[in-house]
C-alpha cells in the first residue's frame, strides 16, 4: 500500500511569531514539522506496517522545509518530495493544493493521500478538500480512528454532536486529527537512516505549472492589531476564592 503524506513546515509554535511585511515570517527562523502532521506521518507508518508498501512525504515550502521532511523520514517514512519556488511565497490554499496535487501525481501512484485536518500556522482547513478534488479522490476527513481492509478505508469522523462512520474504497484522501494515534519519537537510528533517504526538490516549472495555476487570488490589504481583552484581577486562593467566584456570578446575574 503506497501512501503519500502531506507535511507542512511551520514556524515553531513555541516561539512568538514574526511578520515579514504582509506575511508570516518563514525564512531564517526556527521551523518544525507541523505537530498536526505528525499524526499523519504516524498514520502512514502504521498502515505501512500493517499492509506493506511505502510512505512518501510531500511538502511545499521554503528550502528549510527539508527539515520537516527529514523529521518525518527519521520517524520511518521512506522518501520525500519538496516543492520550493520563490513564486510560491504567500500561496493561498488553492495554489497550495494545485502544487501538491501536481507533486503527488509526479511522485507516483498512491492508494492513500494523508493530510492534517488543518495546519497549526495557517489553519485554513480547506487545502485537503481542494487536493482531493484535484486528484479526483473521495475524501474521508476528521478521522479519529482509521481502519483499512480489502481496499476500503473506514474512519470515525468527528462531528459537532458525536461522530459518523464514513467509508470509501481506495484510492482516497484521508485527513487526521489529533488523538487518532500517538506519534512515535524518532530514534537515533532513525535520525541517522533519514540522512540517506532520497528527497527530491522540484520547482513550479518541474511540475509543469505556470501562470494562472499558481496565481494568488487573495492579497493582504492591511493589518491591524486585534482588540485585546485586558487581564482583570488575579487572586491567589486562600480558601475564599469560591466565595469570590460566587460573588462574580451574582454580579453577572447568573445565580
Amino acid at each position: 500500500m503506497n501512501i503519500a503524506v502531506c507535511v507542512k513546515h511551520i514556524p515553531d509554535p513555541n516561539v512568538p511569531p514574526q511578520m515579514d511585511g504582509k506575511y508570516l515570517k518563514r525564512e531564517g527562523i526556527q521551523g518544525v514539522l507541523d505537530p498536526g502532521d505528525e499524526f499523519g506521518v504516524e498514520a502512514g507508518l502504521l498502515l505501512k506496517e500493517a499492509h506493506g508498501g511505502e510512505v512518501t512525504l510531500v511538502s511545499m515550502g521554503p528550502a528549510a522545509a527539508q527539515e520537516a521532511i527529514r523529521r518525518g523520514l527519521s520517524m520511518g517514512a521512506d522518501k520525500g518530495v519538496l516543492v520550493t519556488d520563490d513564486t510560491l511565497k504567500g500561496a493561498d490554499a488553492l495554489v497550495t493544493a494545485r502544487v501538491l496535487a501536481a507533486a503527488i501525481k509526479k511522485a507516483g501512484q498512491f492508494d492513500l493521500v494523508v493530510a492534517g485536518v488543518e495546519s497549526t500556522d495557517g489553519y485554513t482547513g480547506t487545502m485537503p478538500g481542494s487536493l482531493a478534488e484535484l486528484l479526483d479522490l473521495p475524501q474521508v476527513t476528521f478521522a479519529k480512528t482509521i481502519e483499512v481492509t480489502d481496499g476500503t478505508v473506514k474512519v470515525n469522523r468527528q462531528t459537532a454532536e458525536g461522530y459518523h462512520v464514513v467509508e470509501c474504497s481506495l484510492p482516497a484522501l484521508l485527513t487526521v486529527t489529533a488523538g487518532v494515534n500517538e506519534p512515535r519519537y524518532a530514534s537515533f537510528k532513525g535520525i541517522m537512516a533519514a540522512k540517506k533517504k532520497p528527497v527530491e526538490t522540484w520547482s513550479v516549472a518541474d511540475l509543469g505549472l505556470a501562470g494562472e495555476d499558481v496565481a494568488i487570488k487573495q492579497d493582504v490589504a492591511g493589518q491591524t492589531p486585534a482588540e485585546e481583552r485586558k487581564a482583570g484581577e488575579v487572586i491567589t486562593d486562600d480558601g475564599s476564592a469560591a466565595k469570590r467566584i460566587a460573588d462574580f456570578l451574582q454580579e453577572a446575574k447568573v445565580i
Binding site: 487545502m127 478538500g129 468527528q158 476564592a241 445565580i255
Partner: protein, 318 residues
C-alpha cells in the same frame, strides 16, 4: 446589487443555526439566496426566508445525507453555472469545509477561511497568530467562497421575509457517490446546548481525570442553565465526548460567563471562547496564558475549588 449565496448545512432535518447568522450578514452585502441540500431542505427554506433569503434552492434528496461532499459539489457547480452568484458563504463546519475546499478547486475560485467580518464582495477580515492580528484580505474573481466562524454575526429575523423555493433537479452521478456515511453516533447531551448556554464551564487537563468532570457537571446543575465543555487535550484523552470540544476545531461559544478549570489557554482554545462576555479562570500556574484574557483569575487548585463553589452556589440560591 451583488448576489450573495448562503450554503445552509442541514443534518438529520436540522438546519445549522450558523446559516441564519450568515443570511443576516448577507443582507448587508447584496441580494440573499440560499442553497440547502438534504432531507428536510424544503421545510427549512421558510426559516431561511425569515432571515432574508429571497430564493432558496432546495433538494430533499437522501443522497446528500448519505454521501460526503462530492454530491453537494456537483449540485453547487450546476447551480452556480446557471445563476452566477458573486459570493458564497459557508459556516466553518465539518461538512461545509470539505464541500467548500472541493468547490474552490472545481471552480478555480478563491476561498478564504476563518472569516470574522465581511466588508463587501471584495473585502473580508480574518485573524492570524492566535487572533492577535486582524488581516484585511482583498479577494478576486467570482464567485468568492468564504468560510465564516460560527457566531461571527448575530442572526436577526427580517420582518415578513419569505423565500421562493426553487427545487434542485440535478441527478447526482455515480462517481460522486463515494465516501459514504454508514453510521451516525450522536452523543445525547442533557441540559442546555454548549453553543446556547448563558454559562459555560470548561475543563482542561488540569482536572486530572474523567471523574472530576462529574463534579463539573454537578456544579453546572447547581448554577442552572449551564453547559460543560472541554479542551481538545481532554477530548483526545477520552475523558468526555468529542461534542464537548471548544476551540478552533471544536465549538465556538459566546456565553455571558465562561469559567475555565485547569485550562492553560492555548490559542486554539481561546479562539473558541474569547467572545464570552466575562471570563473566569482557575489555574494552579500563575503564568498560565488564560489569565491574560480573564476578568477574574484564581491561582489555585480547581479540584479544591469546585466542591466549595458547588456549596457556595447552592447556599446562595437557597
Amino acid at each position: 446589487m451583488p448576489t450573495i449565496w448562503v450554503y445552509a448545512e442541514i443534518d438529520n432535518g436540522k438546519l445549522d443555526p450558523s446559516s441564519l447568522e450568515l443570511a443576516t450578514k448577507a443582507r448587508e452585502l447584496g441580494d440573499v439566496e440560499a442553497v440547502v441540500l438534504g432531507p428536510g431542505a424544503t421545510e427549512a427554506a421558510a426559516r431561511l426566508g425569515e432571515y432574508g433569503a429571497e430564493i432558496v434552492y432546495a433538494s430533499d434528496d437522501q443522497v446528500y445525507a448519505d454521501y460526503v461532499a462530492q454530491p453537494h459539489v456537483h449540485a453547487l457547480t450546476e447551480l452556480i453555472g446557471e445563476n452566477a452568484p458573486d459570493m458564497i458563504l459557508f459556516a466553518m463546519n465539518y461538512d461545509s469545509r470539505d464541500i467548500a475546499g472541493r468547490l474552490s478547486a472545481r471552480l478555480g475560485s478563491t476561498l478564504m477561511s476563518n472569516v470574522l467580518e465581511i466588508e463587501s464582495v471584495e473585502r473580508a477580515k480574518t485573524a492570524i497568530i492566535g487572533g492577535t492580528i486582524i488581516v484585511d484580505v482583498a479577494l478576486e474573481g467570482a464567485p468568492k467562497i468564504l468560510l465564516a466562524r460560527a457566531k461571527s454575526f448575530v442572526a436577526e429575523p427580517l420582518e415578513g421575509g419569505e423565500a421562493t423555493v426553487v427545487p434542485v433537479e440535478t441527478t447526482v452521478p455515480e462517481e460522486a457517490k463515494r465516501a459514504k456515511r454508514v453510521e451516525r453516533h450522536e452523543e445525547a447531551a442533557t441540559g442546555p446546548k454548549l453553543e446556547d448556554a448563558p454559562v459555560v464551564l470548561s475543563g482542561g487537563r488540569g482536572l486530572q481525570g474523567p471523574d472530576n468532570f462529574k463534579h463539573l457537571e454537578d456544579l453546572a446543575s447547581a448554577i442552572g442553565n449551564t453547559a460543560v465543555g472541554a479542551t481538545r487535550a481532554v477530548v483526545d484523552a477520552g475523558w468526555v465526548p468529542y461534542s464537548y470540544q471548544i476551540g478552533q476545531t471544536g465549538k465556538t461559544v459566546k456565553p455571558s460567563v465562561y469559567i475555565a478549570f485547569g485550562v492553560s489557554g492555548a490559542t486554539q482554545h481561546i479562539v473558541g471562547m474569547k467572545g464570552a462576555k466575562r471570563i473566569i479562570a482557575i489555574n494552579k500556574d500563575e503564568e498560565a496564558p488564560i489569565f491574560q484574557i480573564s476578568d477574574l483569575g484564581v491561582v489555585g487548585d480547581a479540584l479544591k475549588i469546585i466542591p466549595q463553589l458547588i456549596e457556595e452556589v447552592k447556599s446562595r440560591k437557597g
